[in-house]
Structure formats: C-alpha cells, structure tokens
C-alpha cells in the first residue's frame, strides 16, 4: 500500500535557495522591468536636465501621493473582483469637507440658521476620514446585501459624493492653520533631498497595506473572494463582512488621498480628483493586478503609480512634448499589460 502510494508521489526538484519564477510573478516582474526601463531611459535621455537625482525620484511619490493612496484602496477592491468608481469624487469631497469645517459658514436647515464652530484641522481631518469610510461602507452594503453590480453602485456613489462636495461648496475654500504650516515645513533630510509629509503618509499606508494583504486573515480572504467567491463561501470564510469592509477601506484610502490633496493645494475643491478613478484603475492594472480579481499585489500597484509618475515627470522635464503624450503612453501601457495578462491566463488554463 505504502509502496504503491510512493510510486504515485509527485516529487518536483526542490531548490530552496533559488528563486523560482512562477506564473503568478510574471505580471509583477513585467511591471518592474517596464518601470526600470522607463526610468533608465528617462535618466539617460534627460541627463542634461538633472532627471537622475534623489529629489526628482522622491517627487514621483509626493506629486502623485493622492493617486497612490486611492490606488492602494482600489487594489483591495479589484483583488476582491469588484471595482470602485467613487474614489475620484471622494478626494474632492474630503478636501472640501476639511476646508469647510475649518472655515464654517452659517447655513439654514429647516428654517434654522446653524453656525458650526471653527474646527481644529486634526478634528476636521478625522471627521473627513470617518465620513469617507462611512460612504464606502454604505456602497459595500448596497453591493453585498442587495446584490447590485459594484460598477453601478459606485458609479451612483461617484455622483452622490461629488454632489455632496458641491452641496458643501461649489467654489474652492482656502485653508490656513499654524499646524498646517508646521506640517508643510516638516522634512526629514536624506542626502541632498528631503522626505516630506505626503511621502511619509504614502509610505506608512503602503507598508500597512502590504502587511494587511500578506499577513492578515482579512487580506487573504480578499484574495480568496477574488479567486472564486463561491468557493470562498463554501470554505466558510466571512465573505459578506469582508466585502463590505473592502469598500469602506477603499473609501478610507481615497479620503486620506483627499486630505493630502487639501494639504498640497492649501484649499478644498469640490472638483478636485475628478476623473481620477479610471487613472487609478489604470495604475492598478499596469501594476499587474488582474481585473477579474484574485491575482495582484500592493507592491505592483506602487510600481504602477511609479510608472505613471515617471511618464508624467519625464514629459514635463522634456519640455517640448505635450502632456497629452502622458495619457496616450499610459493608455498604450494599459493595453500591453492587459494583453500580457490575457496571454498568461489563457496559457495557465491550458
């Protein structure tokens, strides 16, 4: 019996010390290679203009910190097989909410004039983050418990949140506070450059997201749902709870993006971040995450955001090319990656 079983044993050659390339690594690897090639090419081509410097490299993260933050939230959503179109409007909403809370204006509600006190920026930010998470949560509830399409719910959510932002204020509101001055002056010098607040927030969120996705049951459940939702239910995983939380998490991440946006612009704008949702999806897909869910990584998304930033920065540095080329190149990259994923997944199936 044992002898018979032993004949049937699969014993693949094992090289524990060597990294073995596996099919699931290819999209991430491709992203990395593209990222490296783009950066090298840009550095060589733009060497006279000082593209190759630490401060430029750090600026990749600061200029697109809000894109990066929303992309991290979106990665969780897409990994679970869903989509969140409301992230762009969330940025405008949180920025205007913070600005309004710090500069309240009397408004009438049911014939009563209400005047809110002036809130401390930290309180305002806290309220905005809670509001963002809550709006995400509601969308998650609609998707999970009424079985509406994520695409549709978050599309309506996008209108709703953008509308809320407009209700708060149509025009932009400036913000001022000694604390914000301190935050903006805050810098940790690294060599010739320095790391500032947006980069730190981005780094902290990115690291936490990587931890959540790799080392928590919540994170693994997200992968399982995206891999096969029916199986995940049959395996007894908390699918409903996780799915609702994913949208709340995405709401939180994009709200945080809104906070960074407000701090960077010194104001709140209801139109801020408009149209960002599809750019975010593009960054996630370029980062190697499969839109059907189940496969991908936060690290890939960070690389995806980096690629978008490199393209944008290189075109600005180059000076003569119009910024439209950035959009076209991102679109072209998106196409290449989608086709690559298609080929990989069809080969994996056969």
């Amino acid at each position: 019996m044992t002898e018979q079983a032993n004949q049937l044993v699969y014993a693949p050659p094992r090289h524990p010390w060597r990294f073995r390339l596996r099919a699931q690594h290819i999209p991430l690897l491709a992203t990395f290679v593209v990222c490296l090639m783009l950066y090298t090419a840009a550095c060589i081509y733009l060497r006279d203009r000082g593209f190759f410097s630490l401060s430029v490299f750090i600026s990749f993260f600061s200029d697109n910190a809000f894109l990066g933050l929303t992309a991290i939230g979106m990665t969780f959503v897409i990994l679970s097989g869903g989509i969140d179109l409301s992230v762009g409007s969330m940025i405008g909403f949180t920025s205007i909410l913070i600005a309004r809370l710090m500069n309240p204006e009397p408004f009438t509600l049911f014939h009563h004039t209400i005047t809110l006190p002036v809130f401390h920026p930290l309180v305002a930010i806290g309220v905005a983050l809670i509001a963002g998470s809550f709006l995400g949560l509601i969308q998650g509830v609609l998707i999970q418990f009424f079985e509406l399409a994520p695409f549709l719910v978050t599309l309506a959510g996008m209108f709703f949140i953008h509308g809320l932002a407009q209700v708060i204020s149509l025009s932009s509101i400036g913000i001022e506070h000694p604390l914000l001055d301190k935050l903006s002056d805050f810098a940790i010098p690294i060599g010739s450059a320095s790391v500032r607040f947006p980069e730190i927030v981005f780094a902290v969120v990115a690291l936490s997201a990587i931890y959540i996705s790799r080392y928590t049951k919540f994170g693994r459940t997200i992968y399982a749902i995206g891999g096969n939702e029916q199986s995940a239910i049959l395996m007894g995983l908390p699918v409903a709870r996780t799915k609702v939380l994913i949208y709340a998490l995405s709401g939180f991440c994009s709200a945080l993006g809104g906070v960074i946006y407000a701090l960077a612009k010194w104001s709140g704008q209801s139109e801020g971040g408009l149209g960002l949702e599809l750019d975010t999806i593009a960054a996630v897909v370029i980062g190697g995450t499969l839109l059907t869910g189940g496969l991908g990584s936060i690290l890939g998304t960070i690389l995806g955001v980096l690629i978008v930033s490199i393209i944008q920065a290189a075109i600005i540095f180059q000076g003569t090319l119009s910024s439209s080329w950035a959009r076209i190149m991102i679109g072209a990259l998106l196409f290449v990656f989608i086709v690559l994923q298609k080929i990989l997944s069809s080969r994996a199936r056969s």
């Binding site: 049937l8 596996r22 049951k217 891999g227 199986s231």
Partner: protein
Amino acid sequence: MNATNPILLQAMSVTKLFPGVVALDAVNFSARAGEVHALMGENGAGKSTLIKVLTGFYPRDGGQILLDGKEIRPKTPAHAQQLGISTVYQEVNLIPTLTVAENIYLGREPTFFGKIRWRRLNRLAEQAMSRLNLHIDVKRDLGSYSIAIQQMVAIARAVDVKAKLLILDEPTSSLDSGEVQQLFAIMRQLKSLGLGIIFVSHFLDQIYEISDRITVLRNGKLVGEYLTRELPRVELITKMMGRELATFETGLATSVASDSDLKPPILEAKRLGKRNAIEPFDLEVRQGEVLGLAGLLGSGRTETARLLFGIDRPDKGEIQIDGERARMISPADAIARGFGFCSEDRKAQGIIPDLTVRENVILALQASKGWLRFFSRRKQTELANHYIKALNIATRDADTPIKNLSGGNQQKVLLARWLALDPRFLILDEPTRGIDVGAKADIQKLILSLCQQGKAVMFISSELEEVVRCSNRVAVLRDRRKVRELTGAEINEHNIMATIARSDA
C-alpha cells in the same frame, strides 16, 4: 470490514420536496466508519439531493439524520463541516490563485497576534499532504497543478477539519486512470484511519474496485443497500435502471430500413478523441438511420456529440464529411454543413430565457442565413405556429417568453429550433428527459419520421428502452470509451446492459 463496522451516520426516512417533485421519498441511508460506500443512481435518482441534504445545502422536509447516534440538523455546508461531514465536489471548490498550503488552511491559518505565520502554515500543509502520501511543493499555486492534485488538496483540507465522514461527489469525472489510482490510494489510506467515505461515481469499474457497499437510488426512492462483492454488475445496472432482464423486448426499429448499409455515410469519425473527454473512436453516421448512443451518465455520450458538432476541438483523429476531411471549429461551421445539436442542458445551453417562443424557434435558422436576410414577422409567426401545432407545444401564443413554459415544452421549442433548420444530421442529447409520456412518444415518432425522410439522427438517451425502440444501430459507451456497436437483431436491452456491465479487468 462489512457489517461489523460501526455505523457513523444514519439517515432515516429522509424526505425532500421540491415544487411538484418528491426528490427524496423517505430514503434510508447509513455510512459506516472505515468503509467506502458508493451511492448509485441515474439522473433524477436523488443522489445529489441526498448529499445536499446531508451537507446542509438544503433543509430536509422530513426524517432524521443521526451522526454518532446524535441527531444533527446541518444548516450550511460550513456547519456540516463543523459537525464532521466534509464534502469534495467534482468541480474543485478551492481558490486556484492561492497556494496549496493556503488552500488547506484558509480561514484557520495559524496566527501570532493576528499575523499569519507563513512558515508554520507551510510546514503544517506539508505535513497534511504527506499524511496523504503526497509530497508536492505546497508553496505553488493550486491552479498550476492538475485537477487530480487539486482534488487531493481539497481532500486534505476536508480531512484536516477533523472530518468523520468524507463525501466525494464524482471526484473521478475529470481524472485519467493513473490519477484515479492515486485518488484511490488516498481513499484507502483514509479508510484505514477509520473515516467513513461516501463515494459517488458513474464508473462501474471504479465502484467495484474501491467500494465496500453500494446503495442504489431510483426516482427519489431507495432501491436497496448491498455489499459490493455480493452484487453482480448486471444486477446493479438493472437496479439502477429499474427493469428486470426477463421483461426486455427486442427493438422495433430492426424492421425499419435494414438496407441502410447501402446508403453513403454522411459523417465518419476516424480515431477521433479528446483527452479526458472521450478515447479515440471510429464512428459512421449514414443517411436515413438512427444511431443510438447508449451508456451510463458520464460515459462520454455528450462529449462525443460535442466533438461532432464543433463545440470542443478534438486533439486526435479527424472528421470526414461526405468522404472529405472537414475542419469544424465552431457550431456555426457544423450548422453550415447541415448539422443540428439539441443539447441535454436545456437551461444553460439551449433556451434564451427572455426571448419569446417565436424567437427561440427561428434562432438557428436565422443564424445560418446571416443577420441581413431577416425573416418577416409574419413568416416567423407562421413558422413558430407551425411547430407549436406540430409538436403540440403548450404555450399561450408564439410571443410568450420561453422561460414561462414548462420544461417539456421548452424542450419541444428547442427541437423545433433544429427541425426548422431542416438538418441532414441531427444530434439529440437526452431529448426526452423530464417530459411526460405523451410528449416522449411524440418525440420518438418524430425521430422515426425524420429518418424516413432520409435524415440521419444521433439519439442519446439514458433510457435504454427508448434507444432500443428507435435505433437502427447502437454504439455503446463505457467509461469514456466506445466499446461496441450493435446492429439489427443484436439491439436489445439485454445486450446493451451486458456490454455496459462487462469489465475489461
């Protein structure tokens, strides 16, 4: 082994009702520790309903289930699992994009203050797999392994939750013979550890190789429980099909067109085959004859039809049409050559539920004509009404959505879809399943009349009596292999059953 083993699970007069159907009628069933218990029955026998009741997928409408002598009432599959009843399905219910190790421990990962301990998890998974005598790289994606390995991972997961009873629902359907042996090795191992195993399979050879006991269900009723070594194959088949050998009649169709050999073949399959679907086979289809395809469920009948209709691509052999080699890569190609295929899965592959009866009838004919040459509304209604009348379809009118019709009437609409094409070769896969006796007779008559018009028909049915009555020639399939062809006076139920039952071993 046998009766001395303690009873693990006992189901007593379990009943399950669906609207209009008694799916399980006071069925008794028991599984013993350290035994493989095969659950047998043809379509609609109630096997899957029984399993779904045992695993809490459906609530039961009557009866009792005892596990270790205590009454249980599983609410969900997860609940049943906690009670000790784990199930592994044919389509592996795991996450192909995660690693083997994760799939075994998903939901119960070892953690340290909420942080998953990957090393420990992988080590545990390796141990779990090696308990099944499988030494594979548990850090690889589940999807990169064969279905067989995936199934074994599913078993490893099922067993690791301290299961007492393991239900294997058609686990061997997509495995090759080597993989089946591997699975059996694991089953024997689990059996020796005192687990009870319920095994569902359509492969007789496998049943006789692995099982200790057989329970046969038919039409939602218990036929009986038998020790495998005391039940000859022919008897098992008669019990499953519900007929006594003595009452068999010979075919009526033998009197029809015995000169069919003179007519040229429309289609010839030469060593046509596809891995894990059907072994290479030769087959001829001639004008004006009904070719019956007999075999148990899962014996490769539908797979054969799919190859001939261009749905699946064969990886071996070729198809010749009118003596010339033909390449068919889509149903549209097959239809262009005058073929028709009425699928057995009415709901998933047949009806377009929201469209009307009229639209469903003209669909294939219209598709073959192209989208520009559209039938006028009047012509469509005329065509639909013709078939509503000819096939006796019970519908308010031709403009009723097909989803509002009963199953039998939907089936007739689908038949009409293919008849409207006036095909020279029509494949009918289980056309009479789930419809009443009168409609069955209509369809059988229709087949014979098609044949008299010089068309060729391939008739697939689980009801031998029907196959015998209608066919000029019968190809018998067993375990995905064409094993014999019967012609003329050879065609009777006894011969077919004997062919199905015969073991090669």
